[in-house]
């Protein structure tokens, strides 16, 4: 492949429940620091969430916070951080050649619930319904807020793909760069889902909402005592460029998007399908021109639900078998909960430093490993150092059976 056909990550901006930038996030992933805390939510009461602590006023005015959405704020923060991290000469950049592609699990629940709540105080008289409802709830809102904030006149849209969306945002950015539609893609995903009672209540009704007296221990994928999902907010945005452009400006390169796959289960609204997940993982590895044993780190999707975790492990076993001694596995949701539309991109971002430091961050909160999740080389509770990491495979799966897998390779000129 020529340098015009290779897509690389040159900037990372993120807001995670346990870190406001990649350095903090990585530090906490290596130190086992959770970002899950207790919170109280309308109609739900006391519950748990992975909420972010970044200061939105760094990149926005107070009026922007009043009129915009939380997803928009998170996206603006992450996008600005990514642009700054990439060292782009933003003042001179051609903003018409920049695209914003953000994955979302959902958008509009928070705003609609808030509006209905306020309307209730006026006896549901619709003349009190906010004129901001539509601009806040249109599906492109988080990406559109980024363009307004950063003066980007190229394309922007969101990609709705349930909890597979973070990977899909990155894949969309890659494809648009390959098509020559843009020169810089701000790609990733966002979630504001900790502010909607509807999502909590739905997981609860499904028997899939985690609870634990100690918030930091509530998200425990692969552990026998796991009891569901901890919902999180957050966002991750990558600056993606064609390698030729990155080289021309001497950019630092975090990694190269080497392969991907997006496929559907075509079986169920909520139940995963390990057979299809395996097909998707295998397809991404093939597209990268690799074999399963060439993958050194698999960032699992596992959310902490009993069946979901087991089924992903079945899918992984189908692909990797027992003959991939250099393949290590970990999970990020154990620290931050499930960041929904941001999950895929945050989980990938937190693992990117492995290319340099050769450390695989662990899955925390595994006191008693579920034997059905006992993947070989699953890194538990303590980081694994001295690992050769040339390739990372990132799983992200979502409801309605949307599967997305991204393979990233350490950049080698």
């Amino acid at each position: 492949m020529t340098a015009a056909e290779r897509i690389v990550i040159t900037g990372v901006g993120l807001a995670a429940p346990n870190g406001n930038n990649l350095r903090e996030f990585r530090q906490n992933l290596l130190a086992g620091v959770s970002g899950v805390t207790a919170c109280n939510l309308r109609h739900i009461g006391d519950t748990l969430a992975g909420n972010c602590a970044f200061d939105p006023l760094i990149y926005q005015k107070r009026k922007d916070l009043r009129t915009g959405t939380r997803a928009g704020s998170i996206a603006i923060y992450a996008a600005n951080e990514a642009v700054r991290d990439a060292g782009l000469d933003w003042a001179r950049a051609d903003k018409a050649r920049v695209g914003v592609y953000l994955g979302i699990t959902e958008h509009g629940n928070v705003e609609t619930e808030n509006e209905i709540h306020q309307l209730g105080q006026f006896n549901y008289d619709l003349k009190f319904w906010s004129h901001y409802h539509n601009p806040r709830t249109v599906a492109n809102n988080p990406a559109g807020e980024v363009t307004i904030n950063l003066g980007i006149t190229g394309p922007h849209y969101t990609i709705g793909a349930a909890c597979a969306a973070g990977n899909l945002g990155c894949i969309q950015g890659l494809q648009q760069l390959l098509l020559g539609e843009v020169d810089v893609a701000l790609a990733g995903g966002v979630s504001e889902s900790t502010r909607t009672f509807g999502i909590y209540a739905s997981f609860k009704s499904q028997g899939a909402l985690a609870s634990h007296p100690e918030p930091a221990k509530a998200s425990r994928p692969f552990d026998l005592k796991r009891n569901g999902i901890v919902i999180a907010e957050g966002g991750g945005v990558f600056v993606l460029e064609r390698l030729a452009d990155a080289q021309r400006r001497g950019a630092r390169i975090y990694g190269e998007l080497a392969g991907y796959s997006v496929m559907s289960d075509a079986t169920d609204f909520v139940l995963p399908n390990p057979e299809r997940q395996a097909q998707c993982i295998a397809a991404a590895i093939r597209r990268a021109g690799l074999a399963p044993r060439d993958i050194h780190l698999v960032s699992t999707h596992a959310t902490g639900t009993k069946m979901g975790d087991i089924q992903e492990c079945q899918a992984i076993h189908q692909v990797f078998g027992d003959d991939c001694p250099e393949t290590w596995f970990n999970n990020t949701k154990s620290y931050i909960g499930h960041a929904m539309g941001a999950a895929g991109v945050l989980e990938l971002a937190g693992n990117l430093p492995s290319f340099q430091d050769g450390i695989v961050h662990p899955t925390i909160n595994v006191d008693e490993l579920d034997p059905e999740c006992a993947l070989p080389n699953l890194v538990l509770n303590r980081p694994r150092a001295g690992v050769r990491v040339e390739t990372i495979l990132n799983n992200s799966f979502g409801m309605l059976g949307i599967n997305s897998v991204l393979v990233v390779r350490r950049y080698i000129a």
């Binding site: 107070r62 009026k63 009043r66 009129t67 009190f128 906010s130 004129h131 901001y132």
Partner: protein, 83 residues
């Protein structure tokens, strides 16, 4: 409400709508739009807040009467006289 109270109420509303602006030098005779960054959505916010806080309806045809602080007071005085 007195004229002074009405003026105070309007400034409070606009301060909530435009929390980044400085209102110290607001000229009551000059158009609000020329002095502070008030866009059309913000203007609708003023109308909405008058409705929510004081039960006052401002029909669209009357919007031009809310151009300056003094014209707001003048327009709202009869509507808020008994509030």
């Amino acid at each position: 409400m007195t004229r002074e109270q009405i003026g105070q109420a309007i400034v409070e509303i606009i301060q909530d709508i435009l929390p980044d602006e400085n209102f110290a030098k607001l000229n009551p005779e000059e158009k609000l739009r020329d002095q502070i960054g008030l866009d059309s959505m913000d203007f609708l916010d003023i109308v909405m807040e008058l409705r929510k806080r004081y039960g006052v309806e401002v029909p669209e045809a009357d919007y031009p009467q809310l151009a300056t602080l003094n014209s707001c007071i003048h327009y709202l005085e009869p509507k808020l006289a008994n509030k």
